[in-house]
């Protein structure tokens, strides 16, 4: 096979791809154990109601039904959550959204299960549902959580920058706009699933599709009243996640089912409709922006007010809000302003982590505001961005001094020199009849890691196996982003071993070590740094071992070569296999810890804001450009070209890098133009992939990606986060291109053909 180089910066084809093209790769969903019990969930299907009674009598009469479990069977707190534990495993008091789990049914077959779920009857007293942010904030609104201190507010805060609102008067030009983004569904191809069993020692083993095995273990333990040591979580390959599996889905339910299945293995697999109904979504947002500048284009003031609809549970809503607030001013120097944010409880679907994590929403608003400002100033939109773009040593909008690599200026300059920017006018003028063309740009920054309070670390474990191979134990899930492959490259290049001599152990709480979540654009940066240390210790240990065996004083005379260690002065080699035989297990294992540097800037005294992640220390950047063509008859927007120039550090593997860029853009284009998870009065209207339109091969253009490869000193091999940044570009870039084409800035997404047509018609009536 071609492309099997382990050199950093080269393409190493994913070893897992070999298993995935042959159908051999096992996802959690691919296990069917003998004597398996099927477990499934009775969902509330009501947005807001007091639970009165759960009638299981009819369900239990159905042949093949083994158990119907309710909150009464839950021994622990029955509450789950990452920051705030407010989500029940099984509803005990109140139903707070349609996807709430009310009862857990165990049955012999899938069809018995489905009949029984239908037969469980929920007696409830309906309450008026809180289904929009404005209503939720009214003083006499119904409360989603009666005992919440701040009514329907999960988290709120404000941060004053410089002179605050007073600086508004000092601006020569001020633009003002309100933006609204929609609820986006992850729609990972592998819906939530897993299987579990109680072993002979009474431990619960769970194989499931998750981004967070170690955190899940603690959450399950608390919710069900189990010692965390008695829970083991194993994560095989994951069929996509994008943030949607950052936290509990099936895990606690499976563990509860395993406690009641009399030793039989239990399998649960949500179908698409159940996945849509119950899973977390990208938070819908309402954002007010006032952006002001001096006549020469110097940004002077920004006033931002962000509201997010988090549904009835925190999940990661507070953290999403904090990251949105932190990024609300984009990659620019803005000395004054005010950032206000609130995350609001409603009875809508639960808001949670989704690639982009709040930054997607605010970037779409800020970048549209910048274009509006450029128009009002009569300035070139790229010049305006370049003039205000951050450089190292600057303080960003919330006041964090940038001390890591900061390449937004290079991104914008590279874009300005690109032929797509230089030839934009001739392309625009060449629009065929009944078409209108436009060109949009955007500048994006995106933090990686957890922020100043939540520990952000990884523990890499590396073992020399008996047959002289190296085995990497990685506790960070590979949900398709390819960190496993990057890990192989890191070990291969540092220990000079071919790809076939390196094995990987996928996350397993019994075998791998806690290393945080597979999220926050942190996987390769954080675990990679730990792995680099582990490799160094291993190399030194092995060279010393051989030096001692050969009674040669200077271990520096040895070097690792494929499958062996060579004494360079004499060319004598000892095979790794031979060395392994002289070592005991403890000696053959290296564990290295890495803790990500955190920001020490005191940008806010609000401890809640700091706990939720403000500020970060490390940022990636990108500049984006799109050519769009509008059909004047239908309003359909076709994206013809998309260019992204990114500063995500040195590139470990250009193929994996491209995959992240292209994939994020695809999801971002879905957000910009098609995807909308619809609800009405809290009831879910979007139930399948024929009404929830994710981009297909017909909808996305080929993307041109330029990676600047700027060295980040703190990153493994100079790299930094790549996972999320590309998702943030498409919505503002496409909206700005429509603005360029029509003169109208569309402020609500998805941008549907109807809205584009209306914009064109406004021009006709002028």
């Amino acid at each position: 096979m071609k492309f099997n180089s382990i050199n950093i910066g080269s393409i190493l084809c994913r070893p897992d791809a070999l298993l995935k093209v042959s159908g051999e790769a096992k996802f959690a969903v691919d296990y069917y154990e003998n004597n398996c019990v099927w477990a499934g969930v009775k969902r509330a299907l009501e947005p807001h109601a007091i639970l009165k009674n759960i009638d299981c009598v009819n369900a239990l009469k159905i042949p093949g039904v083994l158990k119907v479990l309710t909150h009464k069977d839950v021994q622990g707190t029955n509450r789950q959550g990452v920051i705030r534990k407010d989500q029940p495993v099984l509803v005990n008091d109140k139903i707070r959204h349609c996807g709430d789990a009310v009862a857990l049914v165990l049955a012999e077959t899938k069809s018995d299960l489905s009949l029984a779920i239908d037969a469980v009857q929920i007696e409830m007293e309906r309450l008026p549902a809180v289904t929009d942010i404005a209503t939720a904030l009214e003083t006499d609104s119904h409360l989603v959580h009666e005992h919440n201190e701040k009514s329907n507010i999960l988290l709120a805060g404000d941060i004053t920058v410089g002179k605050g609102l007073a600086a508004a008067n000092q601006c020569d030009v001020l633009v003002e706009a309100k933006f609204e983004t929609q609820r986006q569904e992850h729609a990972y191809m592998e819906t939530e699933n897993g299987w579990a069993w109680l072993d002979d020692e009474g431990r619960i083993n769970i194989v499931c599709s998750t981004q967070t095995p170690f955190r899940d273990r603690v959450e399950i333990a608390e919710a069900l009243g189990i010692d965390p040591k008695n829970i083991r979580i194993i994560v095989p390959y994951v069929g996509g996640a994008f943030g949607g599996k950052d936290g509990i889905t099936v895990q606690s339910l499976l563990a509860l089912a395993a406690q009641h299945s009399e030793g039989r293995p239990v399998k649960m697999w949500w179908n698409r409709e159940e996945s849509f109904l119950s899973s977390v979504k990208r938070h819908p947002s309402m954002m007010s922006y006032r952006l002001g500048a001096k006549l020469d284009g110097t940004l002077h003031f920004l006033d931002v007010d962000i509201s997010l609809d988090t549904g009835p549970y925190d999940h990661l809503g507070g953290v999403v809000l904090a990251l949105a607030m932190e990024h609300s001013g984009g990659p620019y120097r803005i000395p004054n302003g005010l950032i206000r944010g609130k995350c609001v409880y409603t009875n809508n679907p639960v808001g949670g982590a989704f690639r982009g994590f709040g930054v997607t929403q605010v970037t779409s608003a800020m970048e549209r505001a910048v274009d509006l400002l450029a128009e009002k100033l009569g300035m070139d939109r790229l010049e305006l961005r370049l003039q205000n773009a951050l450089k190292a040593g600057d303080r960003n909008f919330i006041g964090k001094t940038l001390i890591t690599s900061t390449g937004i200026i290079e991104c914008l300059e590279t874009l300005s020199r690109h032929k797509l920017w230089r030839r934009k006018l001739s392309w625009k003028c060449g629009a065929p009849i009944f078409k209108k063309r436009g060109i949009g740009i955007s500048a994006v920054m995106h933090a990686s890691g957890y922020g100043p309070v939540v520990p952000d670390y990884a523990n890499a474990k590396l073992e020399l196996t008996e047959n002289g191979k190296f085995r990497i134990y990685c506790g960070v899930v590979d949900m398709g982003q390819g960190n496993t492959t990057a890990n192989i490259q890191i070990i291969g290049s540092l220990l000079n071993q071919p790809v076939g001599r390196i094995e990987v152990i996928l996350p397993d709480t019994d075998k791998t070590l806690p290393s945080g979540s597979a999220s926050a654009s942190r996987c390769t940066y954080t675990f990679g740094n730990a792995l680099v240390s582990a490799a160094g210790i291993m190399r030194e240990r092995l060279c010393q071992k051989v030096a001692d065996l050969l009674m040669i004083k200077d271990s520096n005379e040895f070097s690792m070569v494929p499958e062996a260690i060579r004494h360079l002065p004499t060319n004598r080699e000892i095979r790794l296999e031979t060395i392994a035989r002289t070592m005991d297990l403890a000696e053959k294992v290296v564990i290295a810890h890495f803790r990500a540097p955190v920001a020490t800037d005191l940008v806010t005294n609000d401890q809640e804001m700091r706990l939720h992640g403000i500020p970060h220390n490390l940022f990636s950047y990108s500049a984006n450009l799109a050519y769009i063509e509008i059909d004047e008859i239908t309003g359909k927007v076709g994206v013809q070209k998309y260019l992204t120039v990114s500063d995500c550090g040195k590139v470990v593997n250009p193929q994996l890098y491209d995959q992240q860029i292209q994939g994020g853009i695809c999801q971002g284009l879905g957000l910009a133009l098609y995807e909308n998870f619809e609800t009405l009065d809290g009831y879910v209207l979007t139930k399948d992939l024929s009404t929830y339109l994710v981009p297909t091969s017909m909808d996305v253009p080929d993307v041109e990606s330029v990676a600047l490869g700027i060295h980040e000193p703190s990153g493994p091999f100079g790299s930094k986060g790549i996972g999320e940044i590309s998702t943030n570009g498409p919505l503002p870039t496409i909206a700005n291109a429509i603005f360029d084409a029509t003169g109208h800035m569309l402020k609500k997404s998805p941008i549907k053909p109807e809205a584009v047509l209306a914009a064109l018609e406004r021009n006709l009536s002028r």
């Binding site: 070999l18 042959s22 159908g23 069917y32 996640a241 994008f242 398709g480 491209d658 999801q667 399948d688």
Partner: protein, 163 residues
């Protein structure tokens, strides 16, 4: 309870006979009864293409077919490609080499659609490839590299024919 039906068909180049319920879906027969878990289910209602298999050489959705419809036919799943030579191996190799696989859950279905395309049109244009795989959703958004991979296969095929 309805009596089971005996059906026989060719599965991945082997003749087999199975007894199955008349309302059993093909995907359940393949995954649960026959252990062919390379066939993926993602929507269960014909929207996504993950469960694509070849029936008599044409791509079909195994979530929308009943097992009894397989009687007398030739079925190929992703697992069956490993034993074949020629086009299918080239497609699998190209998917790996060109980076067309991310999470991999759509991959088996995507490969089946590709083979169906190449069976009927060995020299498709990039747009024809786009159209042929448009029924297969890849949420990781790997389309560009999937197109690259299929293009590479078609180039290799035409080169090898010219030799």
């Amino acid at each position: 309870m309805i009596a089971k039906v005996l059906i026989s068909f060719e599965l991945n180049s082997k003749k087999i006979e199975v007894e199955t319920e008349p309302d059993r879906r093909v995907i359940d027969l393949l995954r649960e009864d026959l252990g062919l878990t390379g066939v993926k289910e993602s929507c269960g209602r014909g929207d996504c293409g993950s469960c694509s298999i070849l029936v008599d050489g044409f791509v079909r959705l195994s979530c929308l077919m009943l097992a009894v419809q397989l009687h007398g036919r030739k079925i190929l799943t992703i697992e069956g490609l490993n034993e074949l030579e020629g086009v299918s191996i080239s497609v699998q190799d190209a998917f790996v080499e060109l980076g067309a696989v991310q999470c991999g859950f759509c991959t088996p279905g995507m490969i089946m659609s590709t083979i169906d395309l190449l069976n009927s049109n060995p020299k498709p244009s990039r747009n024809e490839i786009r159209e042929a795989i448009s029924g297969n959703i890849c949420r990781c958004g790997a389309y560009q590299k999937i197109l690259d991979a299929v293009e590479t296969v078609t180039e290799e095929l035409s080169e090898s024919k010219n030799v």
